[in-house]
């Protein structure tokens, strides 16, 4: 996939390229995606048993990542979600900040838009700085990213499990073709556990 290294000022990085880079050489990475475009982006990078796609439960992605991270401290856990989804669960950033899981990273693909519902402007387009919120909530590391080189560094940081990490990645307001993974929640749950050698129940 072609991508520019530096975002066009005011435009942002290509979301599919960002997610593909974050999931490169993923090893034992455990992934939760927020409903909407983030789920399609992760599926487009390659379906994987250790991807848990949310198709609903808006606001739940980050704290679902916390539950996984506490259960599996030896595995890196990555939550990939959008600004709208994270805004609905902003309190979760305080909950995560209070626990400081070393192996949890939350990456928000931030276009300042509710893309799924017709590109309405979100609060991040109106002044909310999610990276500042995460920092104020006690995340060990938090930043805003607008260069692909920083996405690459972020990918490495996630795998080092050296502290709770948050990144708001500025992405372009584009809508790439939808790549739709399974919507069967039981299948998503069971295949994730199976991949970790856990019984279905």
């Amino acid at each position: 996939m072609a991508s520019t290294d530096k975002a066009t000022p005011g435009r942002g990085l290509e979301r599919r390229a960002v997610v593909q880079r974050l999931l490169a050489d993923r090893g034992g990475l455990l992934v939760v995606t927020g409903l909407g475009s983030s789920t399609y982006d992760a599926a487009a990078a390659g379906d994987h048993d250790l991807n848990f796609y949310l198709w609903g439960a808006m606001g739940g992605a980050a704290v679902m990542g916390l539950g996984i991270a506490l259960a599996r401290p030896e595995s890196p856990v990555l939550v990939i979600t959008g600004d709208g989804e994270q805004l609905m669960g902003m309190g979760a950033l305080a909950t995560i900040g209070a626990q400081q899981p070393r192996n949890l990273a939350v990456v928000v693909l931030d276009n300042g838009l509710y893309a799924e519902t017709g590109m309405q402007a979100s609060h991040t387009a109106r002044g909310t700085d999610l990276a500042a919120v995460a920092s104020a909530c006690g995340f060990a590391w938090s930043t805003t990213i607008d260069r692909m080189a920083d996405v690459e560094a972020l990918r490495d940081r996630i795998h080092r499990r050296e502290g709770s990490a948050f990144a708001s990645v500025r992405i372009a307001p584009e809508e790439p073709p939808r790549v739709l993974p399974t919507r069967d929640g039981v299948e998503l749950k069971n295949r994730f556990r199976r991949a970790l050698s856990l019984p279905a129940n």
């Binding site: 439960a57 704290v63 539950g67 259960a71 309190g91 209070a98 039981v186 749950k189």
Partner: protein, 177 residues
Amino acid sequence: MSNPEEASQDWRDQVFDTIRRSDVRQVSYVPDAGHSRLIARAHQDPDIAAYPLTTEEEGIAACCGAWLGGQRSVLLMQSSGVGNCINMLSLAANCRFPLVMLVTMRGEWAEFNPWQVPMSRATQGSLELMGVSVRRVEDPAKAADEVQAALDDAFLSDQAVAVLFTQRMLGRKKWER
């Protein structure tokens, strides 16, 4: 056990011991006075990650995440918090995640604060509408047994279960300081 204070501590300890024996490794909560003993014991236990939530719906997602990662968890809240969970319960319903919610009731017996009443009246119904099985506990002597049954129904038979500890059992909240 003529001293009611001793009796009440006893059932709370029994509930915690039941959770502990069932290999529950995460306890998330929005605090309630009725859960204070359970919360304190969970924090004291080195094998349990106990953590506060900013809103109860976070706990639904956290419990589901814990299960994905291979751990059992329990979520504690008071009845008003059930209202905050409604849409997030679709996660448990859709994916058939095991889920155990322990809910202390307010607004149903000798209540001082009328603001507790509407959600109290809607607690059991809204849980059931979202597919959660509900058990009400009126008798402290049966509390641990009901919690054990809820743990079995959740983790052995893939159900979402809420145990409601009735306000009559918990006793009047003291308003005078």
